[in-house]
């Protein structure tokens, strides 16, 4: 049926100038579907806004919560500005040390996003490489790599992260740990999430490698590495980007969970998870804003990123159309 509905005029007209990259994008299904969904536009704007605010926290934030000189214990535990006893200088209130909650959220989101992005990139590198090799080589290589992936899947992500963190704490002296804590976290999260990429890439690679353009490249004599990188990789990246978006949200959550459990980033540079944990101690003494606002920020960020990921998955997956 599909060939019956194809436009005969869609065939290339050799004399015409090909459209520019921008024109192609504006004409694409991606842009078309984006423009039509207010929810996706909102999610996109929220994501961009939060990423922007977090990235530029030192310039955007009203206070510098880590500048000890500007902190005043007199300002500690102030409620949000619109409540009785609130201070208009501190929109979302302050914590026990007099730090502005809004500013700590911005700085905290910065750490959370940094960990999220770095771990997604690392997991993607590991997963895509293993998936490509397993799918292309097949046979014993494939079997071994995929069994490793299966074993990996039997451990919950949090457990792996705790394990890596624990081992690193054991190896490194405590003062060094403060500095590398962030990277330990990234490594832990990446190690627990690469399997998703590997499995997806492996199955797409197995489909792609049977296509004739790969055989054509083999007939030309191209080495396997070049075929993998230049021919197969670009054709399997679609689903990877979708997973990466969803995994970004997941990584932020795992980071928050670990930080909440106290094995994440050190309290001197708190992430959203650390903030929630610190605030948790004050929840029952009435200072709910210390934990609720970072929590809300986390929820909004993760929800927006997840919505974007779901939308990308729907648009890029031809089967769902």
């Amino acid at each position: 049926m599909s060939d019956e509905t194809a436009l005969p005029e869609a065939a290339g007209r050799p004399d015409e100038r090909p459209p520019s990259a921008l024109a192609r994008f504006l004409d694409s299904d991606l842009w078309w579907s984006f423009r039509r969904s207010p929810l996706v536009i909102t999610a996109f704007l929220v994501t961009v806004l939060m990423i922007g605010a977090a990235t530029f926290a030192p310039w955007v934030a009203p206070h510098d919560p880590f500048d000890l000189a500007s902190l005043d214990l007199m300002d500690s535990l102030l409620p949000p500005a619109w409540l009785e006893g609130g201070d208009p200088r501190y929109l979302l209130g302050t914590d026990d040390q007099g730090r502005d909650i809004l500013s700590t959220i911005l700085y905290g989101a910065r750490i959370s996003l940094l960990v999220g992005f770095l771990s997604v990139i690392l997991a993607m590198l590991i997963g895509v490489t293993i998936g490509l090799v397993a799918g292309y080589a097949g046979g014993v290589t494939d079997a071994v790599l995929m069994r490793i992936a299966d074993i990996q899947l039997t451990f919950p992500a949090i457990l792996i992260a705790l394990l890596v963190d624990g081992v690193m704490r054991g190896i490194l002296p405590p003062e060094a740990h403060e500095e590398v804590a962030l990277f330990v976290l990234v490594l832990a999260i990446a190690l627990s999430s690469w399997v998703q990429y590997a499995r997806t890439v492996r199955s797409s690679t197995m489909v792609e490698k049977r296509k004739e353009y790969v055989q054509a490249a083999q007939v030309i004599g191209l080495p396997s590495a070049r075929i993998l990188v230049r021919h197969i990789l670009p054709n399997v990246m679609g689903p990877v980007l979708v997973i990466a978006t969803i995994q970004l949200a997941l990584a932020i959550i795992i980071e928050a969970t670990l930080s909440f459990l106290g094995v994440g980033v050190p309290p001197t540079s708190p992430s959203l998870g650390t903030l929630i944990r610190i605030g948790n101690d004050y929840l029952f003494s009435g200072e709910w804003w210390i934990t609720v606002f970072p929590g809300l920020a986390l929820i909004i960020l993760v929800l927006a990123v997840n919505l974007l990921g779901d939308w990308l998955r729907d648009v890029l997956n031809p089967k769902l159309r």
């Binding site: 353009y213 054509a216 007939v219 030309i220």
Partner: protein
């Protein structure tokens, strides 16, 4: 048994008021974000009981849309914008979905193209037949089971009583299509719609299926609408034929008349493009009406042109390629224990030579090992035993990549499927340039670009094509890109694996012409693989016939066609549709 159910069509029509099936002024459109695509417009035809009407046209002409419209199965957002469809005088296009569901299967049976996917693989054949009959006919479970066996017997399945309990995967492709036909006729439909019923089948199976359909139509007085792109099928079984072109019906009439004295110029060019099986012609007549791609290629001056430069090989007339006792097996059941492994022998002790400058054809049905040989020669597979000797050097004995690449540069391959043989993420220019860059055949990037432009120009696409992506091109144009890429290493040996079997017949004519031109200009040696005997006759100097992995006959083309020696060759030749013999 036709009568005992009382559901058959009346054996004696009392009056010939309305035709069995009538389509009037049909218009089907598919709205999309890029505007509305009209898939059929102003189509009107009628079908009488006991008649076989063929609908022929190229892909995208609207043939299948017609069938889907009759079945009321046009997928939204597509819709029937105008016209009416009448079955036995009664309008069916306006029926509510539930009533239409009763018409489908009961009064109209349908046979689809792919027997692999049109049966439910989790139900036995009996279950599927019985389910359909119980849905539409007032009979008991036991009667239905008895009828299922009868039906299988009628469609020519041996040992029907036991086979009826089998699952679809236990049948071969041809047998499965017979089951599909049994399913389509199990409720005694008045009309049978067949959409490319034999396209996925080998020629010998095709002949059997067509004969079966013809017999069933005559015996039962059904009307059959058969949709095909294949003029041979039209010639074989239709009484009348309707020709569709760009969503419109351009010609309709008795098959004999349309095939031999077509009125419409499109029909004329379509028929002219069919390779004649009974004689060899130099070039196919140029077909207007088809694609905009230029068919004129400039004559090359090889002495000065890049394609002729540094052809570091002589023109000697010894064998360029020699295959010695090639054998190749595929593992069909892997196991750790060697004794438990099962193998399928794809190529069985095959030896032949290809002389410099000749076009050597390999012909055979699917699974005969033709493509495996092509892939062994180009180094995609390693043979289990035997040697491949190219230009005097034993390629199977080589282990260093450098040495193999030196020879590989001299042989290139053109693939069957133009939709998967080009990397969709690369620009056409980069696709064609890749072999030049990899083998460092040009001194500078400017030169690479000039050569690519030249090649694209030469295969009739124009140099602007370099900046576009493959999806912007049609099947025939993509096959031209494939050819340009294959020429980019300045090969002396070209392997063409079914290069035109995914293309429409008019495009096939253009591509075959282009290959012939290139072969002559560049003095290429070619291995041309096809299941299509008329195409082989037009293209090849010598032909090898393959059957189940073995080379059964090898002869000069004309000798093979005029005086075949082996039984299998004679069998294949007998099945070749000879539409001009009429």
């Amino acid at each position: 048994m036709d009568q005992d159910l009382g559901t058959g069509i009346p054996s004696e029509p009392t009056e010939r008021a309305a035709p069995l099936l009538e389509i009037r002024d049909l218009k089907v459109e598919f709205p999309s974000r890029r505007g509305t695509v009209v898939a059929a417009e102003g189509v009107g035809l009628s079908l009488e009981a006991g008649e076989i009407l063929g609908v022929v046209g190229e892909s995208g002409a609207g043939k299948s849309t017609l069938a889907y419209a009759v079945m009321g199965l046009i997928e939204p957002p597509g819709r029937m914008a105008a016209g009416e469809i009448r079955l036995g005088g009664e309008r069916i296009d306006t029926l509510p979905p539930e009533a239409m569901r009763r018409v489908r299967g009961k009064r109209i049976g349908m046979v689809f193209q792919d027997p692999l996917t049109s049966l439910d693989s989790l139900m036995t054949v009996e279950e599927q037949l019985v389910e359909t009959m119980l849905t539409h006919l007032p009979i008991s479970d036991r009667e239905a089971k008895g009828r299922a066996v009868e039906l299988l017997e009628q469609v020519g399945i041996p040992d029907a009583a036991t086979r009826v309990k089998n699952y679809p995967h236990q049948f071969s492709g041809g047998m499965r299509q017979r089951v599909v036909i049994a399913l389509a006729i199990c409720c005694e439909p008045e009309v049978l719609l067949a959409d490319e019923p034999t396209t996925a089948l080998d020629v010998s199976i095709q002949a059997q299926i067509l004969a079966l359909l013809k017999r069933l139509v005559r015996e039962r007085g059904m009307g059959m609408l058969i949709i095909t792109h294949d003029m041979g099928v039209i010639y074989e079984i239709t009484d009348r034929v309707a020709v569709m072109y760009r969503s419109r019906l351009v010609e309709i009439g008795p098959s004999d008349k349309v095939l031999n004295r077509p009125d419409h110029p499109y029909t004329r060019s379509l028929i002219a493009a069919v390779p004649p099986p009974d004689r060899r012609i130099d070039r196919f007549p140029l077909v207007e009406y088809i694609e905009s791609a230029g068919t004129t290629t400039r004559k090359l001056d090889l002495a000065s042109h890049w394609l002729g430069k540094a052809r570091d090989f002589g023109a000697g007339d010894g064998p360029l390629l020699r295959l010695e006792h090639l054998t190749m097996r595929f593992l069909t059941r892997p196991s750790l224990l060697p004794s438990r492994r099962r193998w399928m022998t794809a190529v069985d002790d095959v030896s032949f030579e290809i002389r410099s400058g000749e076009v050597f054809g390999l012909v055979g049905e699917s699974g005969s090992g033709k493509s495996t040989i092509a892939r062994i020669i180009t180094g995609l597979y390693r043979p289990e035993a035997g040697r491949v000797i190219f230009a005097g050097e034993d390629m199977t004995a080589m282990s260093s990549r450098k040495e193999i690449n030196r020879l590989r540069r001299q042989m290139q391959m053109i693939f069957q499927d133009p939709y998967s043989s080009l990397n969709p993420r690369m620009k056409v220019g980069d696709i064609v340039a890749e072999p030049i860059r990899f083998h460092r055949l040009a001194e500078s990037e400017t030169e690479v670009r000039r050569i690519v432009a030249d090649l694209l120009e030469h295969v009739g696409l124009g140099s602007r094509a370099a900046l576009r992506y493959p999806h912007e091109f049609s099947g025939g144009q993509r096959q031209r890109i494939s050819i340009a890429r294959a020429l980019a290493t300045r090969p002396r040996f070209l392997v063409c694996d079914e290069p035109t079997s995914a293309l429409d017949v008019s495009i096939q004519a253009q591509i075959l012409n282009l290959l012939k031109d290139l072969q002559e200009e560049l003095g290429l040696t070619m291995l041309f693989i096809s299941h299509d005997l008329p195409v082989i006759r037009q293209m090849c100097d010598r032909v090898g016939v393959m059957q189940r992995g073995k080379l059964v006959e090898l002869a000069e083309t004309e000798a093979l066609f005029e005086a075949p020696q082996h039984d299998y060759t004679r069998h294949l030749l007998a099945l070749m549709p000879r539409m001009r013999a009429a």
